[in-house]
Amino acid sequence: MTMRNFLLTYLLAAAAFAQTENLGLFTNSGDVGNPARKGSTAFDAATGQYRITGSGANIWAKEDQFQYVWKEMSGNFIVTATLEFLGQGADHRKAGIMLRQSLDPDSAYGDIVIHGNGMPGIQWRSNRGEITNAFDLPFDGPGKYKLKLVRNGVGLSIALAKNGAPLKDAARTEVTLRNPILVGLVVCSHDGGASDTVVFSDVAVEALPAPAGKKQ
């Protein structure tokens, strides 16, 4: 390696590390699946808001492309966040809360997302490289959504509220993820040629003490 290449490599590594400066509750941000258009994340310590811009074909099928802001966690916990899309985009652009086994594009994951058209959905890939499973919930148009995701063993429970209404339990599914896992916020434009920006506010991550019995 020449001195110049060494220096370049060092600077690039330093730049990647610099991405992890102040991300509030989270420790890292980056693009999963190497989308052509790069994403970005800005945390405003004064308001506690995350402004996340993401591109990518989709979070779907056997591989994902999106911007991810995450931290590592183990055990049971609750994540809440309120999100709003800025600007227009694909009906199925996505923003939400994701639990993920790894940063691999075909990693196992479970998430709760709001689509650009307002449709809430639960998605999960049970094993690496498998097809995404999804269940979409009824909706009545776009808005500002509060999301709550509870991890309790293999159970993922979600609650939702639109435009300031009280949180309402929506559904529960099961995904087996091995501790530690990645927990964070996602934005995907559902279009490799576009980016979407989403503001997340009132974000909270609360660890829960007790493991629960297995659902049957």
Binding site: F135, L137, Q216
Partner: protein, 213 residues
């Protein structure tokens, strides 16, 4: 004499697989030790289905299945009421299934004994069951509706006399003709569970729908 006995036995077997209301066949999937049964009352249009079996869950299922073959797009409705006490997670369902193999791909809309609606599916033979459960409404008679349009399965439920409410939709890929029918499982091998299905209808739908992404 022996010939007559054989003839009678085969007639009896044939009778078991002859039509039962809107369906053509019934069987225990997964060979549960306690055998199930199914009766159709033409006067009321009601099906009284008794099923045992560990569960419809994991990688293999045990339950009573009353079914017919179907292709294309369609809507199935049925009102299910548990007639017996039992496990909280005993199940009554409208099920689409690739075959009567115990580990067959399937997709169903289920009501549990405790009043929890759920959608379950196994994408490929021998794989784990995927599940989505909805908030529990306490036990009662539940009207269930499952609509298949291409790979999209949309489900509706209502308790008592409430109007049908959409729960949402999922994707279920399948090939060729499917089995469609009613399923009952007791969630334990040592018990049976009887469910009364009424207002059962199967309506063939014309139009294919756009693929969900």
């Amino acid at each position: 004499m022996r010939l007559l006995l054989l003839l009678c036995l085969s007639l009896r077997v044939f009778a078991q697989t002859s039509s039962i209301g809107a369906f053509t066949s019934f069987t225990d999937v997964g060979d549960p030790p306690v055998k199930g049964s199914a009766e159709f009352d033409p006067a009321t249009g009601q099906y009284r289905i008794t099923g045992s079996g560990t569960d419809i869950w994991g990688k293999a299922d045990q339950f009573r299945f009353v079914w017919r073959e179907i292709s294309g797009n369609f809507a199935v409705t049925a009102t299910a009421r548990f007639l017996t006490e039992g496990n909280d997670h005993r199940k009554a369902a409208i099920m689409l299934r690739q075959s009567t193999d115990t580990d067959s791909p399937y997709c169903d809309l289920v009501i549990h004994g405790n009043g929890m609606p759920g959608v379950q599916f196994r994408n490929n033979k021998g794989e784990n069951t995927n599940t989505v459960d909805f908030p529990i409404e306490a036990p009662g008679a539940f009207k269930l509706k499952l609509v298949r349009q291409g790979a999209t399965i949309t489900v509706f439920a209502a308790k008592g006399d409430a109007p049908l409410r959409e729960l949402g939709h999922t994707s279920f890929q399948s090939s060729g003709p499917l089995l469609v029918g009613l399923a009952v499982a007791s969630h334990t091998q040592s018990a049976s569970n009887t469910v009364l299905f009424s207002d059962v209808s199967i309506e063939q739908l014309a139009a294919p729908a756009a693929k969900k992404q």
